[in-house]
Symmetry: C2
Subunit: 208 residues, 2 copies
DNA sequence: CTTCCATCCGATAGTAACTATCATGGAAGT
DNA sequence: ACTTCCATGATAGTTACTATCGGATGGAAG
């Protein structure tokens, strides 16, 4: 609205930069403490102290303690790649193709980033509170994926067939990744072949 | 181990009866308060007071506040009915048949029971904390259903195809019931036809 | 460079969901 | 009747989170 916002896109100003910095400081301090002492072993107060901010500030940046862990960009990325697939593929084929490309993206990460992602994923699946909150991300993913599929299929997003498709795909991906709960040391990319296989069975009408 | 446990099955003794009574008292008091003031409007202290027990006792019977709402016998019932279907049906056909029978069971409830179930379901889907914890029930349902399907198909429960089947079915049921979030006044039995239709699409290999 | 405003931050106080512990009184076995 | 067991209540404490308020600071206008 004001003239300052009109020039948005240019160097974000000192205030914005500071905010990004504190946000990153909080997240990094939190993940470090989680790795050292576990999720329950690090209180919000500990994290705030390690990041050199007040507990109030922690909650200004992250509405809950779980949100520090749950910030995930992969859903969005996966959707993007899915939408970019050639339009002559069926939705299931497009999903499988998108999975393959995203595996390549994950392989290109640095070792530290990989380890961080692994820790995030492990906590998402094993820490009860985090896993509980994670369902919100799932719902979000479901909605966006439904829109993508609908656009591809030329149907409305609330079409029964579109919703069924998305529900089945997400359900299948979930159970394919479930072994992560039992062995959190593994990386999620190891499960891409399993997901692919499962999607194949879906395509065949669930043979048993 | 002791002689008292050997005669189990006979009248449970005064102690057991009292326990069942307090448990019911807590649950009923809680649901009444939830209906009157909403989930957040009734604290555990309020519930304990209404049930004439101490807050300590509340947590002895229900490990969390959410558990008062989440106790659900339908999963178990659905599984039972599913297993009782004639063995010549395919798993998907058996699932659809089980759904039909369970609709009849729900219709036979008294109006108060129906209203209570409706309230439980509405809170399960709309109160964020409850919905979050609900994922644990889902995991449990997934595991038991997988065993049932495995037994039917003559395959191990950790077979990829069995797991895929179960994941798809549960995912489809979830999205079919999702409109409950937007309109919690509706009963879940209204969605049985929608679930049935969705399972049909699954059987056809997800046509789009 | 000053003034003024929006907003970011820290401090404080408070709430609510749990947890741990211990003494007590009543139920169950002998 | 006696003792063992165990459900209960009381108390104190921890932790995640909320509300509020005064002070510091960045940023735009004069």
């Amino acid at each position: 609205m004001t003239s300052s916002e009109a020039i948005e896109g240019r160097s974000p100003g000192l205030r914005e930069r500071k905010k990004a910095k504190t946000r990153a400081a909080i997240q990094q301090a939190a993940m470090r403490l989680f790795r050292e002492r576990g999720y329950d072993g690090a209180t919000v107060e500990d994290i705030a102290e390690a990041a050199e901010v007040s507990p109030s500030t922690f909650f200004r940046y992250f509405p809950t303690k779980e949100d520090v862990v749950l910030r995930d960009d992969y859903d969005e990325l996966l959707l993007e790649v899915f939408l970019a697939q050639p339009p002559d593929l069926t939705p299931l084929q497009a999903a499988r193709a998108a999975l393959h490309s995203i595996g390549g993206v994950a392989d290109a990460l640095s070792p530290e980033e990989r380890e961080l992602e692994r820790l995030r994923m492990a906590m998402t699946f094993t820490v009860p509170e985090v896993r509980a909150r994670w369902i919100n991300e799932l719902v979000r993913a479901f909605r966006t994926l439904a829109e993508g599929v609908a656009a591809r299929a030329g149907r409305p997003a609330d079409d029964v067939r579109v919703r069924t498709f998305v529900g089945a795909v997400i359900g299948v991906m979930l159970v394919a990744m479930e072994p992560l709960v039992e062995d959190p040391t593994r990386e999620w990319t190891e499960f891409l072949p399993a997901i692919d296989e499962a999607l194949g069975y879906l395509e065949q009408g669930l043979p048993l």
